[in-house]
């Protein structure tokens, strides 16, 4: 009763592992699977650092139990770009615009924005700000992140055109 074996897809690969039922998804990804790119900044659902995509939707991994991800597909920051391949346009734009300093909030920003740009390929700056209003960053003051997102949106649109 205290642990369960679960199977799920993470970054395109199938994983099977045992997890305590009280373990949240972020600890499962970090501890059980060793995918430490997903960070924990508050564990009460405010900071957004642990954001991952669950079946394509941005969710806070500290507010979902690992057992709830059974059979689902999870994408973490490690899955945004192929291991040794080119960066996702958001990642490239973050680097080019100094969108990260300490890098702790960055994985959650990237996953949140990856979903957002799929839904809103041509956003305004204001829409970008609203999209990341559930992600705290203490280093950048956000402007460089907004600029990076606008640049990435352009790049994604051009790639599609």
């Amino acid at each position: 009763m205290t642990a369960r074996r679960i199977a799920l897809t993470v970054n395109g690969a199938r994983h099977e592992a045992e997890t305590p039922v009280r373990q949240h998804l972020a600890d499962f990804l970090r501890g059980t699977l060793g995918l430490t790119g997903t960070h924990l900044g508050c564990e009460h659902g405010v900071c957004g650092a642990c954001t991952v995509l669950l079946d394509g939707r941005a969710v806070r991994a500290c507010l979902i139990l690992a057992v709830q991800a059974e059979g689902r597909s999870v994408t973490t920051v490690e899955g945004l770009a192929p291991d040794n391949g080119p960066l996702h346009p958001l990642q490239a734009a973050f680097c080019a615009n100094h969108g990260l300093q300490c890098g702790f909030c960055t994985p959650g920003m990237l996953t949140t924005l990856a979903e957002f740009l799929k839904d809103s390929p041509d956003p305004t700056e204001e829409e970008v700000r609203v999209a990341i209003s559930g992600n705290l960053c203490r280093c950048t003051g956000y402007d460089s992140i907004v600029a990076a997102t606008m640049e990435a949106a352009r790049a994604l649109r051009e790639a599609r055109a």
């Binding site: 949240h24 009460h44 941005a58 507010l63 709830q68």
Partner: protein, 286 residues
């Protein structure tokens, strides 16, 4: 900041949920988890059993039935926010949802979870109250219907028996010629509102035929301003009418907490009510 131990159940049907509720002590239902999970992580909630509703069949969906919209309790806030039916028929709900938390929480949070959590500041509770929602509650004895106005029975306490669950919410669609508005004052975008106001006005010609005013965040539960509503009905939408109705807020009971004292909540109530009335009237007139 890790949860205390609990047993986890993930039933697939409403019947299984009801059986579990009837047989387990100290069980909590887990809906979207956006309020309960922080409480578990912070060890301020200690259920022995967690009954996960996320795999239960038949609890999601948005359907227009007769004069109402029926929304399954486990429908995600994001799905409601983006629903064409909701945007067209219940724009007040869509407007309020844009203030509820953030993209990530709405992707997970459900309408039923928010209603049952009954946070005094919850936007969805205020909107359901303004729209005279009817709740479908299921127990071992079957389904009963409950008015939203009878739902809160205390601070964050819904009128649900331990073996009952909320399965759906029905929102009557207001008649043509109506206008709605949701205004709130929160410290930051996406924060729980200190005070929110949900307003529905139905105009007939140049007269107000029906008015519904609800405040969130002022007391333990949503506050329907019946006196002010009565003042508005029959009158013409005007600055003076709205001002007088909003002035009724000066006499309401309001709570104090570290974020805001009662006097401030009363002031906000009047300001937000007036602003919501003005917006709703403008929208009704279009």
């Amino acid at each position: 900041m890790k949860p205390a131990p609990f047993a986890y159940h993930d039933p697939r049907s409403i019947e299984e949920v009801l059986d579990l509720l009837a047989s387990l002590d100290n069980a909590r239902l887990l809906a979207g988890g956006q309020s309960l999970m922080p409480m578990l992580n912070m060890r301020v909630a200690f259920p022995d059993h967690l009954i996960d509703l996320n795999r239960v069949e038949g609890l999601t969906g948005i359907m227009e039935e007769g004069g109402s919209i029926r929304i399954g309790a486990m429908t995600r806030q994001r799905d409601i926010e983006e629903s064409e039916v909701i945007r067209a028929r219940l724009p007040l709900l869509a407007e309020a949802l844009s203030h509820v938390g953030h993209r990530q929480t709405r992707n997970r949070g459900t309408i039923g979870g928010s209603l049952c959590n009954l946070d005094p500041s919850a936007e969805l509770v205020a909107v359901a109250t303004a729209l005279d929602a009817v709740l479908e509650v299921q127990g071992s004895a079957g389904i009963r219907e409950l008015s939203i106005h009878d739902f809160p029975v205390g601070f964050m306490t819904p009128a649900l028996a331990p073996e009952e669950m909320l399965t759906a919410i029905r929102l009557p669609v207001p008649p043509a010629g109506h206008g709605t508005a949701f205004t709130e004052f929160a410290r930051r975008h996406g924060d729980y509102a200190i005070v929110s106001a949900a307003v529905l006005l139905v105009l007939e010609g140049s007269r107000i035929a029906r008015a519904s005013l609800t405040l969130g965040g002022v007391g333990a539960g949503p506050l329907r301003l019946r006196t002010a509503e009565a003042m508005l009905v029959g009158g013409a939408p005007s600055e003076a009418t709205f001002g007088a109705a909003a002035a009724e807020c000066a006499g309401i009971e309001a709570m104090s907490d570290p974020q805001a004292p009662a006097w401030y909540r009363r002031r906000l109530s009047a300001v937000l009510t007036r602003r919501a009335l003005e917006t709703a009237a403008a929208r009704a007139a279009v």
